[in-house]
Amino acid sequence: MITETRITVTGATGQVRWGYHLVAEVGAWTLSKGLFSATVQNVDTAKLSQAPLSFVVVRPNGSRWEWPMRDVSLLGSILTARLEEQEA
């Protein structure tokens, strides 16, 4: 039997990338059931309109978490998106 658990993941830093391009610096962020919300700064608006975008977190041990992003929207300094399955 599969049960759905609601897990919310939060963080203090991250990056939005288009390939190797840095698109935005991410501050406080929240991920819950695929819905992503974050405060961002230093946004490259031209690259933000490109695809595919990824949300990347570099952990203290050097490993990376990376999620493909879709339905990206920016309002002021708040960025929202849907994150897909984490890439290996």
């Binding site: 990056q15 288009w18 390939g19 190797y20 391009h21 840095l22 490109q50 990347v56 570099v58 050097g62």
Partner: protein, 130 residues
């Protein structure tokens, strides 16, 4: 109308002793202008910074290790950190990297010429001194 933006594709350049570089295949206009800016010293191109700037502009990742056997981190780092890493390695390695990037840039320039020629249906013209 035509597509004027390139995908951020990368290429792997093999070095000696099993090492490698991951470099950008083609630079954007912004990256090219930034590279030129890094080359400049006051009102002229600094010959010493010329090679350094071309490497910094293209470098995405590498396998170069420090004395502790750890890869010197450069991915996603600010330009100043990448330059610091390049200044840390031994000079023979630096020149090997510079040659690899120079060869890559020449190959990519030829690739772009071939693309333009294909678009116009003509053969790429090679100009040489008589």
């Amino acid at each position: 109308m035509s597509v004027r933006v390139r995908r951020p594709d990368t290429a792997r350049l093999e070095l000696s002793r099993g090492d490698w570089l991951i470099v950008k295949k083609h630079l954007t206009a912004g990256e090219t202008l930034e590279m030129f800016g890094l080359m400049r010293q006051r009102d002229s191109v600094d010959s010493i910074r010329f090679g350094l700037s071309r490497i910094i502009a293209h470098l995405v990742d590498w396998s170069i290790q420090d004395l502790d056997g750890k890869v010197i981190p450069i991915t996603g780092k600010p330009i100043a950190d990448v330059e610091s890493a390049l200044r840390l390695i031994d000079y023979d390695t630096f020149t090997e990297i510079e040659k690899a990037v120079d060869a890559h840039m020449a190959a990519m320039e030829q690739e772009r010429k071939n693309e333009r020629a294909a678009e116009t249906g003509s053969s790429p013209i090679s100009l040489s001194a008589a």
